[in-house]
Symmetry: C3
Subunit: 248 residues, 3 copies
Amino acid sequence: VVITLLTDFGTADGFVAEMKGVLASEAPGATLVDLTHEIPAHDIDAARMALARCWLRFPPGTVHIVVVDPGVGGARKALAVQSRDRFLVGPDNGVLSPALLARDARVVALPVPPDASPTFHGRDVFAPAGARLARGESLATLGHPHVGAVVLRAPEATRHADGTIAGEIVSVDRFGNLITNIAGRPGGTVLIGDAQIPVRRTYGDVADDALVAVPSSNGFLEVALRGVSAAARLGLKRGDSVACTPQG
Amino acid sequence: VVITLLTDFGTADGFVAEMKGVLASEAPGATLVDLTHEIPAHDIDAARMALARCWLRFPPGTVHIVVVDPGVGGARKALAVQSRDRFLVGPDNGVLSPALLARDARVVALPVPPDASPTFHGRDVFAPAGARLARGESLATLGHPHVGAVVLRAPEATRHADGTIAGEIVSVDRFGNLITNIAGRPGGTVLIGDAQIPVRRTYGDVADDALVAVPSSNGFLEVALRGVSAAARLGLKRGDSVACTPQG
Amino acid sequence: VVITLLTDFGTADGFVAEMKGVLASEAPGATLVDLTHEIPAHDIDAARMALARCWLRFPPGTVHIVVVDPGVGGARKALAVQSRDRFLVGPDNGVLSPALLARDARVVALPVPPDASPTFHGRDVFAPAGARLARGESLATLGHPHVGAVVLRAPEATRHADGTIAGEIVSVDRFGNLITNIAGRPGGTVLIGDAQIPVRRTYGDVADDALVAVPSSNGFLEVALRGVSAAARLGLKRGDSVACTPQG
């Protein structure tokens, strides 16, 4: 069984190492896979989007442990979810949204043991629960059914009467590419600030120093600049407005 | 068998990759687990503290390879340690202190092969020794007993006659939380610079923009600011003084 | 079978996680090993050098997936290579050079499925090909033989009539050590800017604040400053000139 880890802990402080120790002890046969520990601190949206990309690519039975948890120790519930034959554990703050949105999602609230650290449920609640799922225990044995889990969605783009689609930048990747919430295909034009940017098939379809928009690997349009950060060049960031006209 | 890696190498230069290649070749059945490679360069204290958090959480038989080694190739010994049913290898500079402090710790000095690079014992001394331990060789076969290994301890807090405890900040985590060397419980007050900070149970027990102290997941008090860096707000760093009064 | 991953993706955006999901699903028995995801964006030379350090240290049968791919989706070929009993997949831009330079290297061009994202061959071309090799499929089944793959080499040092060797800095590691392309041994002198730096055996062979040159763990001379960045002190970077006289 594969157990994945997705956190905003970084690795230097040893928190991730503690969680791995718990998992190695309590689920000795499982394979641990790091998804990332470099989610910006407390950035629930970034975690949700990273999870959305990958959770279904892992095989059935995989256990995803997702800990971006600014409300740790407070009133928010600790959840375990079974969805499309995968399992997920994490706080009830929206990070598990991609799995919660599936029609067959089942959710339980995990009890918090009295000796759990109120500042580190990753180690004391989520890793032990993930280990139990990896060992084959059923979701129902882990807690009571929970209704009303927090679901976050990416903002939706809006189609205007003239065919223009108005959306926004939902993330900026490591390369400085601006990922939007507008689905699109080669042939259109992206409007962002004063720039009119052609939608092409891939990064190399324009001259070296020209902005280009392409369908990203998750289907939404992204704006890129070959070998340089489009975000830095345009001075844009998450949440900024963008539009697209289907024809050039 | 689990082999863990804890270094200050980062990953970009390929040094960690070389060590993993040695381990994959010389201990083919073992499971490699990254603890961290992001210890600040040459920061023995940070490595020691990260190791302290996690080494006993891994199952008996685990081999921890710890390489933060500014004196590589010089006079310092290379060590292998058996302690509380785990094994550790690393330089004799204090990084292995958490395991050396256990009553049953046994220590051998590893011979350095003549063809070992004097700048990379991680690859040529520690990874091969870790692989041998993972394959089931006994500690005694790896080297001669060594007495007087370097042990570093966190500075100890001092209790004054009036009940105040004086300590210091021993680390700052990724979230900007200030970890102290003062054990404590909810109800007291932390004094740091001009600030008087209540000790509560968890981060969310104060208003959003207020400083709070909480018992950290390792039992010592930490000072935090919800969603922001307390270190940046207070202008404090490792080594700075802090005090605690048990009652508010 | 071991499958390694070497990319410039970082981990925060979830691209690496997507690749791992594909591999966990399509090569379920394989062991995934992260070499690094922190290659600077689009830095083919850094990737080539990191790969050169480690690819042969892994056991025969290992599959190395190398994705630093600024030309993704364009005219460059996607390659699979068998070399010295290891397998490698990656773009035809020079990142696979260390394996291509071996006498027994065999190369095929991978077909790109029509539904592959033109911006993410790591997920849609290289991971699936790596999984097939890990499952035991032969290189020949993956594509047609390819001739003329791009090979990049480190710049070669030049020996002058007076015995001086002129070279350059080929990389700067995490510690600020300057790695050169000049092979050398203790006893010589490195000339860099105005500085004359003795070649010794290891970092500690000079006073604490003195520059030292040592044979690096890959055989080439490096310039270091104990506990501090030599690159910052000297104001030097990749590509800058350096020379060495064999005698001091």
